[in-house]
Symmetry: C2
Subunit: 142 residues, 2 copies
DNA sequence: ATTGACCGCTTGCAAAATACAAGCGGTGCA
DNA sequence: TGCACCGCTTGTATTTTGCAAGCGGTCAAT
């Protein structure tokens, strides 16, 4: 650790270009499998993905289990610690919406709408949904 | 740009281990000069600091001016775009406070107390203070 | 039982970013 | 005229990233 600053603690974990994107994929895009993360628009390299998944599990932000239905697959889900990064992702999203010259597609629009409503109170709502969603394997979801 | 995701826009700018620490120093610790940033606990290297300051200015998150009083000095201050990163820093701070095993010194305690009160409404208060503070050079402040 | 198509990764290598130390040109003051 | 201090720059070693290829294991079909 470089210092005892709380901000610094967070940055030492997810202060890079990829970690929060993986968490985003888990939070909003329903991705659960290794090869699903690989298909994201930003195009993470497979060795970096492997590296980050190990790190995020070590930091207890995600957990890793065997898929009960497709036995050769491995399911990645968020822990509560990971789900609690929701406000961070919302904040960055809202900031970018304000300053980036980006056309939002409908899906992103919905997410940012949620962000606006939910900082901070409504975070609880999405948070509960995520806890429910991440408690069970992908196959059982609607 | 790797994608049109708002989160990704933010990460491409400040998704590293140093940028937000510089912004933190500007926001909360009253630092304005190159050599002040160098003295922070995390110990950024001088070439990295120079690199980040150029980048942050290019992204219009900070601005760079000559100090009117000490003419050999250069004053760095936050733009509105930079000040608007306040919620991001607050969110990361609160998350870390919850999950990191860190003893908070009194100063940090005050900042996080502010964060708790101000997400999202009270952000406006601190934001205005920062705008006022960053409008004038360091020498004129109390 | 064998084949072949996935699955989550690993490996090798080049390029870029980071970390560390030293020093440089310009300004201001004695 | 010297000297200290200012914001950087430079050089070099190390680490991280980016990219491509491939590997061992599982599963389903033949």
């Amino acid at each position: 650790m470089r210092s005892d600053c709380p901000l610094n603690y967070g940055l030492e974990i997810f202060g890079d270009k990829w970690s929060l994107l993986i968490i985003r994929d888990l939070m909003f895009f329903g991705k659960r499998y290794y090869n699903e993360f690989l298909t994201s628009a930003e195009g993470i390299a497979t060795n970096l993905l492997a590296d980050r998944l190990v790190m995020l599990e070590k930091e207890k932000i995600i957990k890793k289990e065997k898929d009960s239905q497709h036995k050769q697959k491995i399911v990645y889900t968020l822990t509560e610690k990971g789900i609690d990064l929701l406000p961070v992702i919302f904040c960055i999203g809202l900031w970018s919406e304000k300053y980036a010259d980006i056309k939002l597609n409908p899906g992103r629009d919905i997410i940012l709408g949620e962000a606006k409503k939910s900082l901070p109170k409504g975070v609880e709502k999405v948070r509960k949904k995520l806890i429910a969603e991440h408690g069970k394997p992908k196959g059982n979801r609607q």
